[in-house]
Symmetry: C2
């Protein structure tokens, strides 16, 4: 049995979507036990609507919620009875608890994990590693996407090692192609950080470093993992998501502007949804906080029930395949 702690609060549509995701996960995965942490007064009526194996669910009451507007470190210190702090403490103190899933504040989850759960021995900094779909029907991971805005080259080297293991253990990607985010593909390109990191990556055993990647090629399908500092990784992730959303919005607006194109839009509606569906991050699980002492998965704040289910499934697969142990082994080598 794999025990997974789920923070029930903190997302845009929490706790409703969290309850839906948890019920779905209990029905889909027969050897998980879920500890759902949040406001019982809200959770119980929502749980009553779902059907699931209640012997594998434990509800833990927590009266406070950490919002995205709070300063992360202060919130973790002050709100001892928040769902996130209680979930983190449960992950730390319960030896059987293997993973935590939250769609709450990213900053608080990062600060709380570092402060209350800790890192894998030898890992310099935990890093967020979200997944995006590519045009080639595959996926691409970005590490780090925002946990560490100022980075040393050695940290980026560890991001490459951890991200490679993650892709293999969670998604079955064999020998993932690792690229360094840069302003050009030539070896000598980049700022001081990139110039120092390139030779390090070339000399890292057990990763498949294929060279520099320009940001325009993120979705091309030519790379499996993009290594970067958290500042530029955040710019890369959010500008890609933002451009896709704005373009779809512009397209919708333009198609509704004439009678003929409205008819056309009706005919292509299904196909448009196919594209939209493909670009939907809800399907791809959350951003894993690689390097934490136990598995931590951060789902999008606007996740729906399906997305929460995917996050739980992702944590389950990672635990089944021993990702944390594999990272510990490789980092200490």
């Amino acid at each position: 049995m794999i025990k997974i702690v789920v923070d029930a609060m903190g997302g845009d549509n929490s706790p409703a979507v969290n309850v839906q995701g948890v019920a779905g996960a209990l029905n889909k995965l027969k050897d998980i036990h879920i500890v759902l942490v949040g406001d019982e007064a809200q959770l119980n009526p929502l749980l009553e609507r779902e059907s699931y194996d209640s012997s594998r669910l434990t509800v833990v009451n927590a009266t406070e919620v950490i919002s995205c507007n709070e300063k992360p470190t202060e919130a973790i210190r002050a709100k001892k009875d928040s769902s996130m702090v209680k979930a983190l403490d449960m992950l730390r103190t319960d030896n059987e608890a293997r993973a935590l899933v939250s769609i709450g504040s990213t900053g608080a989850l990062l600060a709380g994990t570092v402060m209350r759960v800790g890192r894998i021995k030898g890992v310099k900094r935990p890093a967020f590693c979200p997944i995006l779909p590519t045009v080639a029907d595959g996926i691409v991971a970005i590490c780090d996407s925002g946990a560490n805005v100022d980075c040393d080259p050695q940290w980026l080297q560890q991001f490459a090692v951890m991200g490679s293991l993650y892709l293999t253990k969670a998604f079955g990607v064999q020998n993932p192609r690792v690229a360094l985010l840069n302003v050009g593909v030539e070896e000598e390109k980049g700022d001081e950080l990139r110039k120092a990191t390139f030779p390090l990556l070339q000399n890292t055993p057990n990763i498949n470093f294929v060279g520099n990647m320009e940001s325009r090629d993120l979705l091309s399908g030519k790379f499996d993992l993009v290594v970067c500092d958290g500042f530029s990784g955040n710019v890369l992730l959010k500008s890609t998501e933002g451009a896709c959303l704005e373009l779809m919005r512009m397209l919708k607006h333009t198609l509704m502007s004439s009678f003929q194109s409205k008819i056309g839009a009706l005919l292509i509606k299904k196909k448009l949804y196919e594209v939209k569906d493909k670009m939907d991050y809800n399907k791809y699980g959350g951003a894993v906080l690689l390097g934490a002492a136990k598995t931590v998965v951060k789902g999008h704040g606007s996740s729906n029930g399906e997305a929460v289910l995917h996050c739980i499934e992702q944590a389950y697969v990672m635990e089944t395949n021993g990702l944390v142990e594999a990272i510990a082994q490789e980092i200490q080598r």
Copy 2:
């Protein structure tokens, strides 16, 4: 009469598109004189096909071409008879020459401008400032988009000053809204560079600093100028362009996959082109190298004739409105 030097070589479709753009500019703008620098053997037959006022065109022969694959500084030093070096030297030595337009190697143009033309007195580093269309039918400028990959806070402050003047002088944007590219909107967000730059921008006279911007909001129309180091600016620009291109490609591919959607695609074809046209950088001129002692405009390597014309027009408008003098005055204040 405003004299503008045009590097005829170095683009994907040079010199044909350069000749088209030059002829178009001579016909559109009656008080410009153009000096076209490139291989006469190639230029003359192309020029014969066009009709324009030949009394306002001078062709200067240059036998070499700097390609995008060459190391910029070495190429500028070695290829004395290249179109780019000759054009840069003409800009420096001819007092009447006011501006240079090139669609050749970005790195070489930057290195060559710094080495052979120099900076405006007081400007710490010249910076590239490209323009993108927004969903709100406006434009947004990014400064720096790649000239300086490692930056001091004071440089970013100057980018804000120069970029603001550019938007006003070249596009008539009054009181342009300046944002700092960051990983969150809150004042305390960011890496060391952003934390040091934020208060500097708050205390810079004559700019309209509106706070931090997340990369997902680049095309939102809420900002006129985004200030950043050249590394993250390059990531921002190229990932936005890349995501739009990949999404349009994915859409096209999906629409062609069923009979019904093919019919639909026919009906919306015109509207799709409207969107594509809107996102087409060829219409928005080139990236200006702000802070150079004379006006330098870098067009996209894949520019067509229309795009070259827009770059020349852009240089003309900037010169007509005295951008270089305005920057010199504001920086020395």
